[in-house]
Symmetry: D3
Subunit: 300 residues, 6 copies
């Protein structure tokens, strides 16, 4: 491989580098800061997700041997690494988001992040308990499921829910940005897009999952089941004076307990689907639905 024109190529590359690093081209896409800190790391967050999964479902998602002589050693090491990495990402998240902290607060940022990470660790047993109900719901709802273990190994909804429930907990602890990256990791892996701001009850499951969207202000009760392609979205956005969508408006649906929504149904706007309703596939819902309703598309 004897490539010629070394000098011309060098010149072209140097010019491109100069343009690409010129501050004028970095206004939108380059983060500038007076202070010196690390950006959030998607690689580290992926590790945090894997550690969470290995602690919540011991033996399933790890690359370690399955039946440890003493599970305490393994969970202990994983939780310690999880804490340590989380502290760094929480600091990165606060530093990156230009809101929510005064300069004074930034002084104690490492201590604050340490407290948040410790608080998160303390919540892990509760997260495990809720996720256990999700495993049961997935198993009960699918005739093809042979065991709880198969559900944990194979069902994408479990992966999506670990990420969501971890991210939602971090959001409640006040961490900016990081929760959103964590749920997006699951979106990429499973095709299930759950915003960390959504509120989701126990015994929740999604079958197949690809294409499901659950918006930022959606509220889902207990014992709800969705199928692939279901959207719990917004219908329209009130615009602010600049013509941009206003942020922070309740704009996604409320799904009460014991509701089933079949594949590719779209439920849009701050409406309520009443307890025990069944929403058929492909239907398009933009108004409240009373409890116990059964709404179906006309099949052919």
């Amino acid at each position: 491989m004897e490539i010629k024109n070394n000098k011309e190529r060098k010149k072209a590359i140097d010019e491109a580098v100069a343009k690409l690093t010129d501050p004028s081209g970095l206004e939108t896409v380059g983060f500038q800061s007076e202070t010196d800190f690390s950006m959030p790391s998607v690689i580290t967050l992926r590790r945090i997700v894997n550690l969470s999964r290995s602690v919540l479902f011991p033996g399933y998602y790890e690359d370690k041997p399955a039946n440890p002589y003493n599970i305490t050693y393994h969970v202990g090491v994983a939780v310690e690494e999880l804490h340590k990495l989380l502290v760094g990402q929480v600091v990165a998240g606060f530093n990156f988001s230009e809101e929510g902290m005064s300069e004074d607060e930034k002084v104690d940022l490492w201590d604050k992040a340490d407290a948040i990470a410790t608080g998160f660790i303390a919540k892990l047993p509760e997260l495990r308990a809720v996720l256990s109900t999700d495993v049961v719901a997935a198993y009960n709802g699918d005739p093809a499921a042979k065991s709880y273990g198969e559900v944990i190994f194979c069902y994408p909804v479990l992966k999506a829910l670990v990420n969501y429930r971890v991210a939602h907990e971090l959001l409640k602890l006040g961490v900016p940005l990081i929760p959103r990256i964590i749920t997006e990791l699951a979106h990429s892996e499973t095709g299930i897009d759950i915003h960390p701001g959504a509120v989701i009850g126990k015994y929740f499951t999604i079958d197949h999952g690809t294409g499901v969207v659950i918006g930022e202000t959606a509220v889902i009760g207990d014992n709800v089941k969705l199928y692939q392609g279901v959207t719990l979205g917004a219908k329209s956005f009130p615009l602010d004076d600049d013509g941009n969508p206003m942020k922070g408006i309740m704009r996604h649906p409320v799904i009460e307990d014991d509701v089933i929504v079949y594949s590719n149904a779209s439920i849009l706007g701050r409406i309520t689907i009443g307890r025990g309703s069944v929403i058929g596939g492909n239907v398009w819902i933009v108004n409240d639905v009373p409890p116990g309703s059964k709404i179906f598309h006309d099949g052919k």
Copy 2:
């Protein structure tokens, strides 16, 4: 990074670890066994899939040089590793699934797994032959395809079908759990969710693929083409005495030869789509369709 409160943090972590490893919290999510064995490993199964792809489509999916001086050396090494890893995963699958084996049978489990893995290797040439027809179908069906090679490199359906056909073969050989994990790996990678229990003929293809669901008891003939978002699903589940769906019922459609199903169509229940039919996009089908039908949504 000078984090304080070392002792308090240690206490919080130790408490969380204690709760997370308490047997009472592991009933649903932790696998316990009297015997000592390895759990199935998703990492190893991913390697098994990659080895299968590299053997079935030499040169395309490997990270080795493309035009080997002697392809036999490369395929030989890959098949040997494939056999070895498969034995271990088959053993893990049998041990994990709490059914299908008496204690006596477990004694000879390694020999049984060896025989299964050897049987699987012997089937690889046939799998290659069927997958070759799938390549041809994808090429013929897409005006954008420039060559068979482009299809193998770029079309997600090929990846999904390698996993499905490998998993289906293992299922026929009696291996529990492992086939389901293998097809879920393709689901995550391609958005195409094919249950390993489905039966699929030759010259099968799916365009784009994201969101396709093919259920456990679906039967698909030769020369069938699906588009993205198509569901071959169940309509309803007969419940058993406990109110849970009954397992093992034929509940997904039969698609006869030469059928095309356009994007986002849903075909639900144990119905039959007759040979040569065309099912339009977004339609919702819950009844039998006679051969040669053309069923379309009313476009706007």
Copy 3:
């Protein structure tokens, strides 16, 4: 692990290897060539995508420290590696595709690839400028977005658009096959399937994204927004004399400026959606739509 029957297993494996490497079984799936060259490498192309992302959005997608003392060093090293790897893949793409080059042209292939890669590098600043408008569009269009930075970190559309805009540029430079592999990498990662041949304007965004399909001959103006599950597809393919779809026909829609298309809508065929139109969710469009139209599904 004391597996028996060593000889029988060896025999079975040797037989399978012999069949799998027999030229008769490799006609469709094995690439043969008189000359000695490397096949395109998906692993290297993934690295090329990561390098492009790290150069276009410095600090976001890298595994390097975030706030470098001197960004020029980092971008310089990345661009140099990008150039070098791209030369190899461009050569591999030309060699693999059996078209577009005479034997004479192959002689100078490395120089040609060097020139193409250099031309691509020179285009990177322009690609950055267009992608910056896409960031703005995603931010403005989503009430849940808190900052440009969150968009770059979390929104799958940005990943899909980097791959598409890189691939489209390579396609314009005449590179075969490689662009298609690059957009398929994003399809797998995001569920968004954009053919590199499509033409897409500035300020383009897709919300959520899973299941979106944008076909080879689609044309999209400026300031267009799509939602998840939208298809810009072909309606039917004219067949050639052999009954196969004809290649190279304009068969996908034209979407003019300022159009919004809601979730799961299908727009099929070489039709035009007029400027400023709004296409509702789940609708099915196969005819031209005049500017300023609002077409909605009847919700329930």
Copy 4:
């Protein structure tokens, strides 16, 4: 890189491979066995050494964080992995060495190896205690040493002694071959060559270390110090009837307590260096030395 003569090269390679795999050339260098087992793995043994070091000197040689919140978790995980890997290598060692086991014994080999590995683990606290005396000896003997910690971090003798004391323990447990590979790993790393069969007391140290040789049947008391280049070797080997050296003869020196041997001294044969003696640099000793002797080379 357009290498020509593809066919000739292929022919040459195929011929070389045929010769290299012909059994006639493998008599000395290729291990053949009727049964199916793994060879000892130098890579795994290196891991075993690293695990031993990390357990014996927590925090020093690991690539994990230094001050764990709970050292028990870390040591627990390391010891478990150490046990597991050791079982495999002990089995490999027995299988490889063609002595010491009847066919009956091979049946229970995994159980035997499990018991040996467990026995080894139980000895680790004692090994730590002896190695602690070696740390003290190295610190006391070198004016350049600032702390015990510096000794553990920097002094090659500590690395060599961990390997030797681990290997010697395994030898006492009856493990063939493996101990020798373990001390050779230290030889390569430190230039200190201690045969695992040697017997070495407490408070032993070697300064600098490169070139030191301690033979198989050497016996060293407590509180002995060697310098670089010292040989405790054999003087001559009685030959057997075939003219080869007889194996298993006591042929290396006995060094009593409190002896110092300066650099490059050679002490050869089954002689005794009496307690408290000082052997000067570069001297050559082939006869017994009474206690309290001081033997020096004539310096210039």
Copy 5:
């Protein structure tokens, strides 16, 4: 692999872990600290050495392409990483060594380490200049050397000298412990053991090198050449009141300019080898040697 006696093994392991983590056994070998910091990392220090080598001898020791289009990019990235890693190791070194810092000083430790690392970076061009003279000396002194490049690629003395000169510089900047670990890395790699405290002039070289020892207080002039196995050591150590060697005494030789010392010679104690002397192989020197002397062993 069906290992039995799971419970007994678990018990044995738990007991060993308990003993190994009991504080009573960690007095000598375990570092305890009230504060929370990282231990020095040999892995990171190895990386620091590799970065230093790649910056000082661009293209030789890197795993990057050799002839970069723009060397500045590469050196810039390497120096930045070098600085960053060095800061962390300097902090670790100060924290680990229990001397030289008051509590007040520890408060500003990160700033202090930053300043030290920056000072080190500023010295790199001078280090390069001195090392260039060492390359010339090695080339001129060996008839087998074909080019400066061969010397840099192949001669272990160059590796040892990079480590020594880097470590000596850090020692002058007041960094504890870290310099000693850095020279020991070279000792392991080359068999050449140079204490970072030694003072060594320009145009220094060592042929072959294995077994060379240069003590802490040795002083070497310009244009000195050593051969393998040479010791510049201490003759005896004054003992303190506790009977231990006194630390910090000048106890190694002074070698003046233009001296050659042949293989395995030992020069011991605070003596001076006068300018231009030649010391023959295997000789043992414990007294001053006047300038211009030639001292040889009687060969046979």
Copy 6:
């Protein structure tokens, strides 16, 4: 970690980078070339050594399973990779060394390197045959050796001899620089420094090995055994008109068949040690020694 003084640090680093990349400082240590090629890669050469070892001693030094079902597959893959990597390093070696090739020759450099690599592969069976005699010699010469297998696993001389015999073969094929790097890799690993130019017969062995030096023009017959620390070196170098040692002079000893040289003996200059002689430890030989001599140091 909140490091301050960002700007000052940046300035210091930028200044150091500028000095380090200034051509004036790169004269000795930086390789400049008009053409565009890769430097020799120590990492790749280490891989080449590992591949050679795995081919010559199948099963011993690999990280693959030991008892392959079909050794031909494994050796075939290894030899192919070995050939490919060697071609690249041979090209790099020729390009780097500024001698031995006209511009015309450089045109065909890849073909030339291909031929050399193919020639080397063809020699591998012969190298294996000679190395087999070295294994036998090591086994016969050491009472501590239990089997040929132990010798191959544990004896550093075998590693040193594989590197030497591979390097010597490449030297005979005319490859510059690369052979020297290969033997230096063994020097670092084993402490045995054999110049690739030396000529060494069959049944050669070295016990322990650390510190052995065998010079460029040494000639060693069959059935020779050395111990640790032996030097076969040069006595003095004739100087050229510039006062530098003349290159290419025969200056190292000739050791005839059946000679034993004990530890730390130095044999210097172009002298001959006659057949069957025994040279004792620590002796210093600078004159011819007649056949059958026994020369010993006076032991104490």
